[in-house]
């Protein structure tokens, strides 16, 4: 039974989200329906609830109508729950007495039938109203932060992120699997779009990192275990058979990529014909100046692009984003080294985006590199030479192209050990196998695990400027908790009603975090709220419901079930 004081006075706010919701859901009808739900004092609809005027609407209603609970029917709570919790709080309503009905991601965007979608939206709003009726106010809680960031991976992304963290005055720890810093980039002689020698900029970067007093570099090392949560990660690093623990507040993942192995495309003859090499191998040849094939300088060099990328059959539907520019770079360098040699690039499209990308492509053509649109279906040997069978997509016929050297512009793939890191940090991966960012637009460096950020090609293929930009973004996000010195910890923890607890200890057995313990004096369970992550395993296990997970109590859930089964 509810006291008069906590008697629900609920405001319901239905968002149009422009036309994102309103085009499929009759928002006016939903608001009208909500107005008649038990406890609802005011129901409104508005174009953008998350906008300033939308939030003001909520705040003003809270004060003017004496609301004590707020329901917002809009996008996923994973999107805007913090926004509306804050708005309610400013209106004088405890932020934990807000509930969202997800009528966009889980309704208007997935159903065409307006009538059915509107019906569903009403039910979802009723469910949120039923739940909010039973919500209790909670206090905000905070925990301290270990000042420091762990950077996994010592390539360009990891170096850049670590340097920014250190420059901001916090310790950074680079854990690198190999025996040196610099990653893949250290093996590139030159970089596009200006043919600048890589060492000119990479060597100083590595030196700054190595010499920085706030940076600890651990080579031949790997992360063995990660415990804790944002602000309080306890990381076990294995180096030379020795395990050591590093306490950090945040983690940047910069584990990079691996190159596509072209032997998975046997039609290109890689590994069978010595004249077929990858862009990676050509990079090394260009560095040493050794371009000899079959005992002589090649008279003709052909590049094949999109090897291992944009290939649905292979399971790599994505573009690796750098191969076009790598081919343009190397084609120019071959022309410089061997001005008599004919150089042809076979392409599906040329993707010359980004700053100076198109200009660089133009420079390649000005340098005499020939671009020919066509799909190469096969490479085979004819005498001393190699032949490409090409489907020329302009001429719409199959042609042959004789050459001496075939260069496969290989793309990027997620590293084989992505799964290991993913398991360590509970990070989801996208369908292509790279790490999944929290939001493609709003959270491109965030992950679903608070305090863990992504930098560089572990998230998706990208070039060096984009990698460094993302690394710096990840560093600045990773710095936020370190600078604040505290992190908010969940308020939605499990609590024990000692009157009901029989002390069976099953909660102790099921908790992965050691949060509950039996009080030796009273024989009842006590939960250490600092350790509780709010998973609710203990609450389900407790047969008398002496333990409840706040914000997800049986009353709340069963009230929702009740409404949803009507």
């Amino acid at each position: 039974m509810m006291s008069e004081k906590s008697k629900p006075r609920i405001g319901v706010y239905v968002c149009h989200c422009g036309t994102n919701i309103a085009a499929t859901v009759d928002v006016e009808a939903v608001a009208e329906y909500a107005q008649n739900l038990p406890g609802v004092v005011q129901a409104r609809h508005y174009t953008y609830m998350c906008s300033d005027p939308g939030q003001t609407l909520i705040k003003e209603d809270c004060r003017a109508l004496g609301l004590n609970r707020v329901v917002v029917a809009s996008c996923s709570p994973r999107m805007h729950e913090p926004t509306f919790r804050a708005a309610a709080q400013e209106g004088g309503v405890n932020s934990y007495r807000t509930e969202m009905a997800n009528i966009r991601e889980q309704c208007s965007w997935v159903h065409h039938d307006k009538e059915a979608a509107t019906r569903k939206a009403k039910v979802l709003v009723a469910s949120a109203v039923a739940k909010v009726t039973h919500l209790e106010p909670l206090e905000e809680r905070e925990a301290g932060v270990h000042p420091g960031t762990l950077v996994i991976g010592g390539g360009v992304a990891g170096l850049s992120a670590a340097l920014d963290v250190a420059e901001a005055g916090f310790p950074a720890y680079i854990v690198e699997k190999s025996d040196r810093l610099g990653g893949h980039v250290a093996e590139l002689g030159h970089t596009f779009p200006d043919l600048e020698p890589t060492a000119d900029w990479l060597a100083p970067l590595i030196r700054r990192v190595e010499e920085h007093p706030a940076i600890t570099v651990m080579l031949d090392a790997q992360v063995e275990e990660v415990a804790g949560f944002v602000g309080n990660f306890e990381v076990t690093v294995l180096q030379g058979g020795q395990a050591q623990q590093i306490d950090v507040g945040t983690i940047v993942i910069a584990t990079g990529y691996q190159l596509f192995d072209p032997s998975r495309k046997p039609e290109f003859g890689y590994g069978r014909y010595p004249g077929v090499l990858t862009t990676w191998e050509l990079e090394q040849r260009l560095a040493t100046g050794d371009l000899v094939v079959a005992g002589r300088a090649p008279q003709d060099v052909a590049f094949i692009k999109c090897v291992g990328s944009r290939d649905i059959q292979l399971g790599n539907p994505y573009c690796s984003r750098v191969c076009c520019m790598v081919a343009a770079k190397q084609a120019q360098m071959v022309r410089q080294a061997l001005p008599e040699t004919r150089v042809t690039v076979f392409y599906i499209d040329v993707r010359a985006f980004g700053k100076r990308g198109e200009e660089f492509y133009d420079e390649a053509r000005e340098a005499g590199v020939r671009y020919r649109r066509g799909n190469v279906s096969e490479v085979y040997r004819r005498g001393e030479r190699l032949v490409l069978r090409v489907e020329d997509t302009f001429l719409r016929r199959t042609v042959e192209h004789e050459t001496d050297m075939v260069v496969l512009a290989v793309g990027m793939e997620p590293r084989d050990d992505t799964g290991v890191i993913s398991a360590l940090l509970k990070l989801p991966r996208s369908a292509d196998g790279f790490f999944l960012e929290a939001h493609p637009k709003l959270g491109p460096v965030d992950t679903t695990t608070n305090g863990v950020f992504l930098a560089g090609c572990c998230q998706a293929p990208k070039d060096i400027p984009d990698t460094v930009a993302q690394a710096k973004a990840a560093a600045s996000s990773a710095l936020i908790p370190l600078i604040r010195g505290t992190v908010p910890v969940i308020s939605e923890t499990a609590i024990v009603d000692a009157e009901l607890c029989a002390g069976c200890g099953m909660c102790v057995d099921v908790c992965p975090y050691g949060a509950p313990a039996l009080d030796p004096l009273w024989g009842v369970s006590r939960i250490n709220a600092v350790l509780c992550k709010g998973c609710g395993a203990c609450a389900v296990t407790c047969p008398s419901k002496a333990i409840c997970l706040q914000q997800f109590t049986p009353e709340q859930i069963m009230a929702q079930v009740d409404v949803l089964t009507v």
Partner: protein, 142 residues
């Protein structure tokens, strides 16, 4: 039994980190699926209390879907393993009690499997249409 006009009502208990996010991804990807599923967000499949599932069935839900992270992917380390045991036990009890355990589905759907979420809902709606309405919806003596 199959009634063309019958639209099954499915109550779905989805874990916040995987399946609920997967359902959101189906939305952001605009993958269409039938509107018969009504989602309750929980933090973990390991916090789906069998009593909730029983209540939904007894109240007349035509189907109950429990969604969690794939084995090994639980945000809370092992919640989905606990859920797996619990739901297997529950389904056995439901079956033995003369109720229809095939109305209870446990499925792992990750945050990146928007299409799988849509597929699961579509399949479930199809299977429930085959079955027809939950007889308990009309039964007052439960």
């Amino acid at each position: 039994m199959s009634d063309e006009s019958f639209e099954p009502k499915i109550v779905a208990f989805l874990c916040n980190w995987c399946t609920y996010t997967g359902a959101d991804l189906a939305g952001t990807s605009r993958i269409q699926y039938p509107p018969n599923v009504r989602i309750i967000r929980l933090m973990c499949s390991g916090s789906v209390d069998p009593t909730y599932v029983l209540k939904a069935l007894l109240d007349g839900a035509d189907g109950v879907l429990i969604g969690g992270c794939h084995p090994g992917d639980c945000h809370y380390q092992s919640g989905n393993y606990k859920a797996r045991r619990r739901i297997i036990a529950l389904k056995e009890i439901v079956k033995q009690a003369g109720l229809d355990e095939e109305r209870v589905w446990l499925r792992w759907v990750s945050a990146s499997e928007g299409q799988r979420f849509a597929d699961v809902v579509t399949q479930m709606v199809g299977a429930l249409k085959e079955k027809g309405p939950n007889p308990l919806r009309q039964e007052w003596a439960v």
